[in-house]
Assembly symmetry: C2
Homo-oligomer: 210 residues x 2
C-alpha cells in the first residue's frame, strides 16, 4: 500500500482519459503535444496504481477509482470472520443476577440470549444490566427476557460480511457488539461475537502488518 | 492511496538497490543488461510509490519501506485529537448511585473522576459500577473514590498522540476508554475522552474518505 502523489502531467492525463476514454496512448500524447515515449512512465504509473486500465486495441480508460477508493478496495478484503470473538450465551429464563455474574466470569461486555431451541432471542449489554441493577426489582428473581433487547430489534451480522460494514452498524445503531449469526431452519444460530474491541484490533493490525 | 503490485523487474531493481544502494540508474541498468531508458518507468514507479528515494549525483537508495509500511505512514498522520469525544467528569465524593445516573444521562461508558483542584483522580467504567451494584453496599452512601481505578494505575493519552498508539493502549490494557490529558502544575487536566467507539469511527472513516 502506498500513497501516490500525482504530478501535474499525470493529473492532465487522468482528465483526458476521464473525458475521452477509451483513448490510445498516441492520442493522449497528441493532445499534450508530447511524444508517446515521454508519456510512457506516467501511463505506467497511472495504470499500476489502478487509476487507469488499458485494453489492447482499445486504449486507456478511467477505472473511476480515486486514490482513497483504492484504499477502500483493500479494506474491503477484511471480513467479520477475520476478527470475530467467541460468543457467550445464556438461556432466556436465567436471572439478571446470574447474567451479571456470567458477564464478569466470562469477561465480556455483551451476552446473547437463546431460546429453548438454541436460537437467538435477545441481547444483553452492560448498560441493560446496570439499568436493571439500580431498579427496584430483586435481581435474582428477574429473568433476563424482561430486560433484554429482543428480535426484531437486534442488529446482526454474518461471518462473511465486510468488517467495515459491521463497524458502520455498531456506530449507526450505537451498540457495543453484534451477534454473528447463521440462518437455521427455525431462526438464527449464534456463531460468533463482534465488538468494538475487535474493530480496534483490526485498526491496530492495519498499522502492524508487514 | 493505492495498492501497487510490483512486477518481476521492479522486484529485481528493489533487490539491487537494497543490496548496493546508493546506486545510479545506469549502474542498475548495467546489472540487468538493459538500457537506462527501458528502466525509467520502473524507477519512476518505485520512487513515486515510496520504495526508493533518489538524490542527484548520489543515485537511488532504498527507503526501507515495504508497501504496508507506507500504509502505516498514512495511518500515522491520524492523531487522537482528530477523533476525541467530550469527557464527562464527576467529583470524587459523589455516590456510586449518582455516578450511575450520570452515566445514563450523559450516555457514556466511562466517567472520569477529579479531585478538588479539578485534576484527574480516577476512572469509572460501566464494569466498575456494575460490580459495585451487585455488592452488599448501599449505592447512595458509597463514594466513587472507593471503587474507582486511581492514579498511577490510570492509562492516559494526549491530544497529539497517534491514534494508532492510543488504540494499542486500549487493547493492551483491556480498557474501554482513555482520558485525554494535559499536564498542569499539580497534576493532569482532563481535556477529552477517547473510546473504542472513536477508534471504530476512525476505521469506518478510512473506507469513507474521498
Amino acid at each position: 500500500m502506498s500513497k501516490i502523489e500525482l504530478n501535474k502531467r499525470q493529473e492532465q492525463i487522468l482528465n483526458i482519459v476521464k473525458d475521452n476514454g477509451p483513448i490510445t496512448g498516441e492520442q493522449i500524447a497528441d493532445r499534450l503535444n508530447l511524444t508517446r515515449a515521454t508519456l510512457r512512465p506516467d501511463l505506467a504509473i497511472l495504470t499500476m496504481a489502478g487509476y487507469l486500465d488499458a485494453r489492447p486495441r482499445v486504449g486507456y480508460f478511467y477505472t473511476g477509482k480515486s486514490g482513497s477508493q483504492l484504499l477502500t478496495d483493500s479494506l474491503k478484503k477484511i471480513v467479520v470472520g477475520d476478527y470475530q470473538s467467541i460468543p457467550v450465551v445464556i438461556m432466556e429464563d436465567v436471572s439478571v443476577y446470574d447474567a451479571i455474574v456470567t458477564m464478569f466470569l466470562e469477561d465480556v461486555g455483551t451476552l446473547f440470549v437463546v431460546d429453548k431451541s438454541s436460537h437467538l432471542a435477545g441481547v444483553l449489554s452492560r448498560k441493560d444490566l446496570l439499568r436493571a441493577s439500580i431498579g427496584k426489582q430483586e435481581l435474582t428473581a428477574l429473568p433476563v427476557n424482561i430486560i433484554m433487547t429482543r428480535m426484531p430489534n437486534i442488529t446482526v451480522c454474518k461471518k462473511e460480511d465486510l468488517l467495515i460494514d459491521a463497524a458502520k452498524k455498531l456506530i449507526d445503531k450505537q451498540i457495543d457488539a453484534l451477534p454473528i449469526v447463521k440462518e437455521a431452519e427455525q431462526g438464527l444460530e449464534i456463531v460468533g461475537r463482534l465488538t468494538k474491541t475487535n474493530i480496534t484490533r483490526a485498526f491496530v493490525a492495519l498499522a502492524d502488518e508487514e
